[in-house]
C-alpha cells in the first residue's frame, strides 16, 4: 500500500545573519506498509518519526527539500497528490486534542472531516453517530468542546476523525504517552481493529512495549535512518538484529533498565560511516567507512555489517 524508498529530507536554515545552511535531517529512510498490517515506527525523539508522517501527508514546511520516493498504492506520491489524498485516503490521528479546534463542538469537527472526505451532510452525520457509538461515546459527547473531554474520551474522538474519513492508510502519531494503561490498551486495540478491516496502519511511538502489543512489524529509526525492520515477535524471542534495537529493548524498566550512554548524533554532525558507530559495542574500523546498506539477517532487513554474527 505504502512504500517509502531512500527518503531524504533537507532543510534550508538561517545560520547567523543571512548565511544559510543545509541541514539534512533524514537520510536513507525506508518503510513499507501493506493493507491489513500495523507497522510501528519506534525511535528516539529527533529520529525522524514525525517528519516521515509529515512527508507522507505532504505537510512539510516550504524550506524542506525531499529526495527519494514515496509510493502510495503503486503510484508516486507527489506533493500535489498527497494534498488531494490527505484526509481522504490517508488520515492522521494526531498526538493530542491540541490538534482540534478548541472553539468547536467535537461532533461537528468529526462531521466536517467526514464531509471533506466526500460524504454528504446527512451521510456524514450518520457516520459520526455510528462511529461515536462504536467507540462508546455517548451522543451527548458530540456537543462537548475539546477541553471538556477526559484523556480517554479525547483519544476516542481523535480515532473517530480518522475512521469517518474512510481512509485506507491511517497514521497515528504518538497516541499513547502519559495515558493510563487501560486507555493505552483501548487506543491500541482500536488501531488493530482498523488494520483488521483492511486498512494500513502506521503507529508512530517511542514506546516499544505499546508497539509490540499490536504491531506486525517494527521499524526502528535512528538519526533519520531506518536501521532495522523487525517482526514484532523478534523482540521477546531475542532475534532482534541491530545493536541499537537491542539496547532499546534492554533499557526497558521491566528488562534490565540499562541504557547506553550518549545520544544520537545531531544532524549537523553526522558521522561518515554508520550513524550508531560512536555508541556501538561492536564497532570496528570498517564501520567508520560507509553507511551500512540494508542486509537481510534472520529474515529481516538491518543496517549493520555485524548483525549476522
Amino acid at each position: 500500500m505504502l512504500s517509502v524508498q531512500n527518503l531524504g529530507i533537507t532543510f534550508t536554515m538561517y545560520d547567523r545573519g543571512l548565511t544559510q545552511k543545509q541541514l539534512t535531517v533524514i537520510t536513507q529512510l525506508d518503510l513499507d506498509v501493506k493493507a491489513g498490517e500495523v507497522v510501528a515506527i519506534v525511535g528516539a525523539s529527533g529520529s525522524g518519526k514525525s517528519l516521515l508522517a509529515h512527508a507522507i501527508l505532504g505537510i512539510l514546511p516550504d524550506n524542506a527539500k525531499v529526495s527519494g520516493k514515496i509510493f502510495f498504492k503503486g503510484e508516486l506520491l507527489t506533493p500535489q497528490r498527497s494534498s488531494n489524498l490527505r484526509g481522504k485516503s490517508i488520515a492522521l490521528i494526531p498526538q493530542s486534542i491540541g490538534y482540534l479546534d478548541p472553539l468547536m463542538q467535537v461532533g461537528r469537527q468529526v462531521q466536517r472531516t467526514a464531509q471533506l472526505s466526500g460524504l454528504s451532510q446527512s451521510a456524514a452525520k450518520a457516520a459520526v453517530a455510528r462511529t461515536f457509538d462504536r467507540y462508546g461515546l455517548a451522543p451527548i459527547v458530540q456537543r462537548l468542546y475539546p477541553f471538556q473531554l477526559s484523556g480517554g474520551m479525547a483519544r476516542r474522538v481523535l480515532v473517530s476523525t480518522a475512521v469517518v474519513s474512510q481512509a485506507e492508510l491511517v497514521i497515528a502519531d504518538e497516541p499513547t504517552p502519559g495515558l493510563h494503561p487501560d486507555v493505552v490498551k483501548e487506543t491500541l486495540n482500536h488501531l488493530r481493529e482498523l488494520a483488521s478491516e483492511g486498512k494500513g496502519v502506521i503507529l508512530i511511538t517511542h514506546d516499544i512495549e505499546a508497539a509490540l502489543q499490536i504491531a506486525d512489524r517494527v521499524a526502528v529509526f535512528y538519526a533519520g535512518t531506518t536501521i532495522e525492520i523487525a517482526h514484532a515477535q523478534d523482540f521477546p524471542s531475542g532475534k532482534i538484529r541491530h545493536p541499537y534495537t537491542q539496547a532499546l529493548w534492554r533499557s526497558l524498566p521491566q528488562n534490565e533498565f540499562i541504557p547506553i550512554s550518549g545520544s544520537q548524533p545531531s544532524p549537523d554532525a553526522l558521522p561518515e560511516g554508520c550513524l550508531f558507530s560512536d555508541r556501538c559495542p561492536w564497532v570496528t574500523p570498517e564501520c567508520l567507512l560507509d553507511r551500512p546498506p540494508f542486509l537481510q539477517v534472520r529474515g529481516a532487513p538491518v543496517r549493520c555489517i555485524h548483525a549476522g554474527r
Partner: protein, 203 residues
C-alpha cells in the same frame, strides 16, 4: 522531610480533587505515585512544589513552609518541557538561570555543547527534557517531583535520565516523588509506592 498535611484542593465551585491527603517523603527516599487520570496526581505535584496553594492543609519542607521567594527547595519536572522554558531564551541561558550545571552533569545527560546556542524550538522534546532535568539538579533543590518525566521519551533516553537522576539523588540525599502511569518504571526505581485509587477508597 517533605510533608503534606491534610492536603485538600479544589477549584472554586468545583468538586474536590484531593481531600485529607497525607504524604511524607524523607531525604534520600524514592516514592512512587500512580493512579488513573483525574485522581489528582498532577494537582498533588503542584501543591507540593508550590505551584498551587492548598485549599486546606499545608506543605512543610524540612520543618518550614515553602518559601514564597527565591529558589524553591521542591522542584517539579513536567511531562512537556517545551511549556516550562522561556521560548525567547537560548538553552545556555535557560540552564544557567540558577547556576550553570557542571560539565560532568551535562555529559552524563547527553547534552551536546552545541545545543547551548540554540532556542528551545530547535531541540526535540527528548533533548529539551534533558535540559529541564539538568536545570533543577543544583544544590538548592532538596526534593524533586517527576510528573511523568519520561513518558514522552524513548526507552534508552528514559533509562539514561533515570539513572542520572537516581545517582544524583543518592549522592545529594534528595527525596524523590515519581509520578507515573508506568507500573514497570515505578517498580524499578521506587522504594515504595502510593496508589491513589486505594487512598481515595479509604476516605
Amino acid at each position: 522531610m517533605l510533608v503534606g498535611e491534610q492536603l485538600a484542593f479544589r477549584y472554586p465551585r468545583h468538586d474536590w480533587i484531593l481531600r485529607d491527603f497525607e504524604i511524607a517523603i524523607a531525604p534520600g527516599e524514592v516514592v512512587g505515585l500512580f493512579g488513573p487520570s483525574g485522581f489528582g496526581k498532577t494537582t498533588l505535584s503542584k501543591l507540593l512544589a508550590g505551584y498551587l496553594t492548598p485549599t486546606q492543609g499545608r506543605v512543610i519542607v524540612d520543618n518550614s513552609p515553602l518559601p514564597d521567594r527565591g529558589c524553591c527547595p521542591v522542584q517539579l519536572i513536567f511531562q512537556n518541557p517545551e511549556l516550562t522554558v522561556n521560548p525567547r531564551w537560548r538553552i545556555g541561558k535557560i540552564l544557567a538561570e540558577k547556576q550553570m550545571p557542571d560539565r560532568f552533569l551535562l555529559d552524563a545527560l547527553g547534552i551536546h555543547p552545541g545545543w547551548l546556542d540554540r532556542y528551545p524550538h530547535e531541540l526535540s522534546g527528548g533533548e529539551l527534557q534533558r535540559i529541564a532535568v539538568a536545570r533543577v539538579l543544583n544544590p538548592a533543590t532538596r526534593y524533586l517531583i517527576a510528573d511523568e518525566m519520561t513518558a514522552m521519551l524513548d526507552a534508552n533516553t528514559q533509562a539514561l535520565i533515570w539513572r542520572m537522576v537516581l545517582d544524583y539523588a543518592r549522592s545529594q540525599n534528595l527525596g524523590l516523588l515519581v509520578v507515573s502511569h508506568e507500573a514497570a518504571l515505578i517498580k524499578r526505581v521506587c522504594d515504595r509506592a502510593i496508589d491513589l485509587v486505594q487512598v481515595s477508597a479509604l476516605i
